[in-house]
């Protein structure tokens, strides 16, 4: 059960950061995962007054505010045109529309959850996070970092000449993925991201995809109620091969 002593709508990033320095404080994203956990929060920090719920597109980047919902990125025409619909694909299985209207990109990325479709998909792109007060960090590096007290401000995607595709295996629609894979080609290199291993997504860069099973073998896998490590590795290889074929057809 989640208990909260004090609920604050932050008026600035600085205030949010200062409040978040106490161990008993918690930044609220969509509050979906937090609400079903057990935690006593002294100060809940709501970022919804900080204008972080926008997607800004320029010629060179997408800047996705941390409070942007998964539904917003699902429906964003520019983002989906750039990713050939991969962003829409990566969120459309997540529970339902009303759930995606609450879940935030910031919550998904900061949480670095094993099941995160969002992290898996964006990790294959040239993506960065903007942290307050730290600054810009590559998403690949951020995914490896331990949880800290900084505030996630935005997810930044640098536009490249890129092809990307995303696929998951799920036992049932709207369930967590058994395995999640994104394959992107940019800067003459394939970037293969595998998530729900069940560990959080990781990415490798390769010059070519000739043996998809070998590339799947570069990741570690584990077993849980959704599948065994061996099964996950096998299916990861299958999905890498399929996504590679899909990219080559484009």
């Amino acid at each position: 059960m989640l208990t909260i002593k004090n609920y604050v709508k932050a008026e600035s990033l600085e205030q949010a950061y200062e409040l978040n320095q106490k161990r008993s404080a918690k930044v609220l994203g969509g509050t979906l995962w937090l609400k079903i956990g057990n935690r006593n929060v002294q100060t809940a920090i709501d970022l919804s007054n900080l204008g972080l719920d926008k997607i800004e597109e320029t010629e060179s980047t997408f800047k996705i505010g941390a409070m942007t919902t998964l539904r917003q990125i699902e429906k964003h025409e520019g983002l989906n045109a750039y990713t050939n619909g991969a962003v829409k694909e990566c969120v459309r299985h997540i529970v339902g529309t009303q759930f995606r209207n609450c879940a935030t990109v910031g919550g998904s990325i900061f949480g670095r959850f094993g099941f995160s479709d969002v992290l898996t998909c964006f990790l294959a792109m040239d993506a960065y996070v903007e942290l307050y007060p730290t600054g810009i960090v590559s998403l690949e590096e951020f995914a490896k970092m331990p949880y800290g007290n900084e505030i996630l401000v935005s997810l930044i995607v640098k536009k490249k000449s890129m092809k990307i595709a995303y696929e998951t295996l799920r036992r049932e629609a709207t369930d967590f993925p058994v395995i999640a894979v994104a394959v992107a080609k940019w800067d003459e290199t394939y970037h293969v991201s595998v998530g729900a291993r069940p560990a959080k997504a990781a990415v490798v860069a390769v010059d070519a995809i000739e043996d998809a099973a070998e590339i799947a073998g570069k990741f570690t896998y584990g077993s849980n109620l959704r599948g065994s490590a061996e099964y996950r590795q096998h299916v990861a290889g299958v999905l890498i091969r399929r996504l590679h074929q899909r990219l080559e057809e484009k």
Binding site: I4, V95, Q98
Partner: protein, 156 residues
């Protein structure tokens, strides 16, 4: 300690004092006595708790009550006007898409959010929009057909 929240509820300005961890669902049912919104699973999976906040369908069982400060909240009680049923409600009755009725408010809210944004939708888009709402009784087909019929009505 309770904190105050001011917002628009079913087209009227309201305010309430709630504990910080109170969910929107709790405030609607327990404080405003609007029991049309149901608690089915408490984890955002079943859609029975669906309400509309600032035009978007949301899971009220996971949303903090204090987060709706300054926003517009619509519950099933606010659907339809002047004693007249909303087109979605009429079609759900016409298509016999209700059995026990527990999931029905949630389906109506999801459908209304979809059709208010754009009534020109396909049956497939409707099925996707209501994929976050579970029904143990009807098998979904009548619900989808009813909502599609309502969309045709609203396009006129």
């Amino acid at each position: 300690m309770k904190q105050k929240v001011k917002f628009i509820l079913n087209h009227k300005p309201v305010e309430m004092e709630v504990y910080p961890e109170e969910r929107l669902l709790d405030m609607l049912r327990d404080d405003f006595h609007l029991t049309g919104t149901k608690e089915g699973c408490s984890v955002g999976e079943c859609g029975a708790c669906t309400v509309i906040v600032n035009g978007k369908a949301v899971t009220s069982c996971l949303m903090p009550a204090l987060s709706v400060e300054g926003k517009e909240v619509l519950t099933i009680e606010g659907v339809g006007a002047n004693g007249e049923l909303d087109p979605v409600q009429k079609k759900i009755l016409e298509f016999h898409a209700v059995q026990c009725g527990f999931c029905t408010p949630g389906f109506i809210m999801s459908a209304k959010a979809l059709l208010d944004e754009n009534p020109d939708v396909t049956l497939e888009e409707i099925r996707r929009a209501i994929s976050g709402n579970l029904c143990r009784c009807t098998g979904y087909e009548q619900l989808a057909q009813a909502i599609y019929s309502a969309s045709l009505e609203l396009r006129k």
